[in-house]
Amino acid sequence: MNNSKNRFSTIFLLVAAASAVFLTGCKKDKATENEIITMVVVHLTGIGTAFDTEFAAVDADGDGIFNTIAPIEIPTNSVFNCHLHVVDGPLTDITEEIEVENTAHLFVIKTSGGGLSVSDLNTDDNGAPFGLESTWTTSDAATGSVQITLYHEPTDKTAADPGGEVDFDVVFPVKVQ
């Protein structure tokens, strides 16, 4: 009787110990990363002019919605170099990382309304469109907008639907004045 009781308690403890091992044996990695783009910056520098301004779309509270989108106000009949910057998380500039992975990313820049045209998108290592850098040309005064979309892992960079997933899709109002 006593024996069987002792044996039982031994077994009980063993099972308890074993379960404690498996219950805590799971992977622990608290440092998860999340891809939350919080800022997109359009950096325009005038060719032959002193114009040098950054226009930003910012998600200040990290809820996935841009709180402020700066209107792009630029002079008429000028040519600009456009360089885009992408910021992830609180303050991590991921532009360089995107540039390294240029074949897996595509910036598509579409204008609507008058006054602005975009050309000369730079290319990736395979010679396919990339778009981190481009040339913006303004004509007479007008208002319109520019839509900038970043695709991740596009399947066909030249197709109307490049495939892959959209990392961000933002529309800046444009005022050529």
Partner: protein, 794 residues
């Protein structure tokens, strides 16, 4: 009173053939079957009168009655109770006689074996048990697939790897999954979160349809899925089974085994059980479904101890699964979703076979630790205390840039810890009333690591319940009534990256009740009527969800002002159980007050970083779900039988016709309602092993026809409902008695080899299911040939 020797070993099912002969004798034999040393009555013991080939089974209170026996005739009465050597007694009757038969235990064990009692008698709601052959045929598939043959049960799936059970149109937090007496506490709020249960652990799986809140708590508003393991070994020795299976679609394999051991000395019995599964990309008839591989590893260990009035069990289980999410279903923005929907072939598809599970993927882990102790005060009263701890972890892996996906880090980890304590005081029939009272306490902690789609919260709750059932054999009526009160409190702390402190305290409390009547019209025909009131508090995601639900391509917005959902469920069912025909029809109406659903008001768009998304708001309105489930199985000639099942459901809610006229309401159909579904076919049982009564060998051909859903809500539909389809399946199973060399027939009795074939989607038909959330992106899997073998011994 007649004493006899016989053995009582364990619980199980015993089939009794009843055939009615033309006799002109009117003497009845009735009485109780009792366990000799404890004097406890035995339910489901069989009593068989050899000369007239008639028998019966004792009811829940251990009572039996056999009518129409002749006077002054010698009868051989056989009394047995599951899997044991039965005993026989010769009796002669002169008039209506009441005899109590007492079964004593096998002399070798010298221990009183108290047979496990059901917690309560079967419910008065409609209940379906998964047939043994169907359970075996579904081995290697997930729990939900195992249930899909039951009328009224459908699948809410996300491609071929994730499926949730839907009972009479409701799913998720509205149904409870109860395995081995433990209600699964996991994250069922997500449509792509499947129950974390290994069906290999279950010996019996059944579905209770209708409000089962009194028995199973607030989660069981629309029903419950109950899994029961086989009982631990009572006899000293080793037993168990080993099973292997292979599937052609996805080149999958599964291996599972279980071993039971009871040492010759001591009061302890053990069980170890495990399951391993692996499969690669599934294939639709026209293409591979990229990234649909899965792997799973589950195990459980049980130790039981029994002595006199005490019985203790401790169980530890682990469920660990990792699976890919269909690559084509992963969209970053609504424009991706639109492109995916219009695309004829899956967009971004990886059209090749691989076992590799790439992002997007999920890893799910669920651990349960259960300790249960029973104490019997006397023959009637029993006190049960059960404590269980559960830990649920979901890791969701998203696609992203190299630095984001480096180090195998998950984008979001949902964790849920639960502690539950149940105490129940139950009694066997006292003046024909059987039932019990109980209390429950639960505590939960939910923690979301980053990417907070739902906030962190701390939850606690308490319940009290009472349930009683009246049955006086042979009175044809049975009555059942239950009452329960539940309280649930939540402290919702933070959301997002802990930068949004909510600090909200919400509490909900409500009464559940049920009343049922069962009328035994004849030995074959039973009518059941049950009406029940059940509720559930709104879940934290319905209250506070805020963010893009990527798989669904929508932005979900919770509503902190939601009230509890209350359901008034009434079901009427009729069951016919005879040797040549079994049939069941059940009609139900579920009136849900403050039904919580996702609604998209027209033109509600939120502009997120990934572009515009439609906004879905959690709202509530009164809703009604009603329908009919039916099934039959009829033996028509020799071993050939016909089978059919059908389920119909209609569900609508009251909607406001226009914002400007809030008083004018109209009916709108509910989203995600199962389509009308028919299953029909024939089964040929060509050999039956009479010594085991289980595992009859058969071939079955079935067809499933799912109609097109035409009753769709007016708003929020992004792709036309899939058209009607018919699928064919073929199943076969054969059981062989394995004979060892030179071993005695008795030693061989438990050794069985069962081999089976299960071919799904026989014609390799391309189809899409209305309740598949990935129907926007790809077809369902095509032809799948599964083979399996199971060896059981001891």
């Amino acid at each position: 009173m007649i004493n006899s020797k016989a053995a009582v070993v364990a619980i199980g099912l015993l089939c009794i053939s009843v055939s009615v002969g033309a006799q002109h004798c009117h003497v009845a034999l009735r009485g109780y079957i009792r366990e000799a040393s404890s004097n406890e009555t035995l339910a489901f013991a069989s009593v068989f009168v050899k000369e007239v080939s008639r028998g019966t089974m004792t009811d829940d209170s251990g009572y039996f009655s056999i009518a129409d026996l002749c006077e002054n005739t010698s009868y051989t009465v056989e009394v047995s109770h599951v899997e044991c050597a039965h005993f026989t007694q010769i009796i002669q009757l002169k008039e209506n006689t009441t005899l109590d038969f007492r079964l004593v235990h096998d002399a070798v064990l010298k221990e009183v074996v108290i047979v496990e009692k059901l917690v309560a008698p079967p419910p008065s709601q409609a209940q379906n048990v998964v047939e043994h052959s169907d359970l075996e045929a579904a081995r290697g598939l997930n729990l939900t697939e195992t249930l899909k043959k039951i009328p009224g049960v459908t699948l809410l799936s996300s491609g071929g790897t994730i499926a949730k059970p839907v009972i009479q149109g409701l799913h998720g937090n509205r149904i409870a999954v109860v395995s081995d007496g433990v209600t699964l506490q996991s994250q069922q709020w997500g449509n792509d979160h499947a129950p974390e249960i290994d069906p290999y652990t279950a010996d019996i799986i059944k579905v209770v349809k209708g409000a089962a809140g009194v028995r199973y708590g607030v989660g069981a508003m629309a029903g419950a899925v109950i899994l029961e393991p086989s009982v631990l070994r009572e006899k000293a020795g080793i037993g168990g089974w080993a099973s292997v299976g292979g599937f052609s679609n996805g080149y999958g394999g599964v291996g599972a085994g279980s071993i039971d051991w009871k040492p010759r000395r001591g009061l302890v019995a053990f069980r170890l059980q495990g399951t391993v599964k692996r499969s690669g990309n599934l294939r639709a008839p026209d293409y591979w479904l990229g990234n649909t591989g899965a792997s799973e590893f589950d195990f459980s260990a049980t130790v039981g101890w029994k002595k006199g009035r005490w019985k203790q069990t401790m169980t530890a289980t682990q469920f660990a699964q990792s699976f890919g999410i269909l690559r084509a279903a992963h969209t970053g923005s609504i424009s991706d979703l639109d492109s995916a929907i219009v695309s004829a072939t899956p967009r971004n598809n990886l059209n090749y076979f691989t076992y590799v599970i790439d992002r997007p993927s999920q890893q799910v882990q669920h651990n349960t630790l259960k300790y249960k102790v029973d104490y019997r005060f006397n023959d009637l009263w029993k006190l049960t205390t059960q404590y269980n701890f559960q830990y649920n972890q979901r890791r969701e892996y998203d696609r992203g840039r190299r630095s984001v996906i480096a180090n195998d880090k998950a984008q979001v980890i949902f964790q849920l810890w639960s502690n539950t304590l149940d105490v129940a005081l139950e009694h066997l029939p006292i003046h024909h009333w059987q039932g019990g009272i109980g209390v429950q306490a639960i505590q939960q902690l939910n923690y979301v690591t980053k990417g907070g789609f739902i906030p962190d919260y701390l939850g606690w709750g308490g319940s009290v319940w009472a349930m009683e059932r009246w049955r006086r054999f042979p009175n044809p009526w049975e009555w059942e009534a239950g009452l329960r009160f539940d309280y649930r409190g939540n402290h919702i702390t933070t959301t997002g990256n802990a930068n949004n402190n909510l600090d909200k305290r919400l509490s909900f409390g409500n009464v559940s009740g049920s009343a049922g009547a069962i009328y035994h019209v004849s030995p074959a025909l039973t009518a059941k009527l049950n009406t029940g009131y059940a509720w559930r508090p709104p879940h934290v995601n319905e209250l506070f969800a805020r963010g893009v639900h990527h798989g669904a391509g929508r932005y979900e917005q919770g509503n902190p002002d939601l009230q509890s959902e209350k359901a008034w469920n009434t079901n009427l069912s009729g069951e016919w159980e005879a040797p040549n025909l079994s049939a069941q029809v059940s009609l139900y109406r579920n009136q849900v007050h403050d039904f919580i659903y996702l609604n998209q008001p027209k033109d509600s768009i939120v502009l997120t970083i990934r572009g515009p998304f439609p906004v879905y708001f959690y709202e509530q309105a009164d809703a009604v779900l009603q329908g009919l489930d039916a099934q039959f199985s009829a033996k028509i000639w020799l071993g050939l039988s016909l089978e059919g099942r059908a389920s119909f459901i209609r569900g609508y809610r009251l909607a406001h016709s226009a914002v400007s006229m809030p008083d004018i309401v109209h009916r709108d159909w509910l989203p995600l309602l199962p389509v009308d579904r028919f299953q029909y076919g024939c089964k040929w049982t060509f050999f039956r092993d009479r010594t085991t009564l289980k595992g009859a060998s058969f071939v079955r051909i079935m067809a499933t026809t799912a109609m097109e859903q035409t009753r769709i809500p007016m708003e929020g539909l992004t792709k036309a409902a899939p058209s009607r389809f018919t699928l064919y399946s073929l199943e076969a199973s054969h059981t062989i008695l394995v004979r060892g060399r030179g071993a005695s027939p008795a030693a061989n009795s438990g050794r069985l080899l069962e081999v089976g074939l299960n071919i799904q989607n026989l014609t390799n038909t391309s189809y899409r299911e209305y309740l598949d959330l990935f129907r926007y992106f790809a077809d369902m899997p095509g032809l799948n040939i599964g083979i399996r073998a199971k060896y059981s011994f001891g």
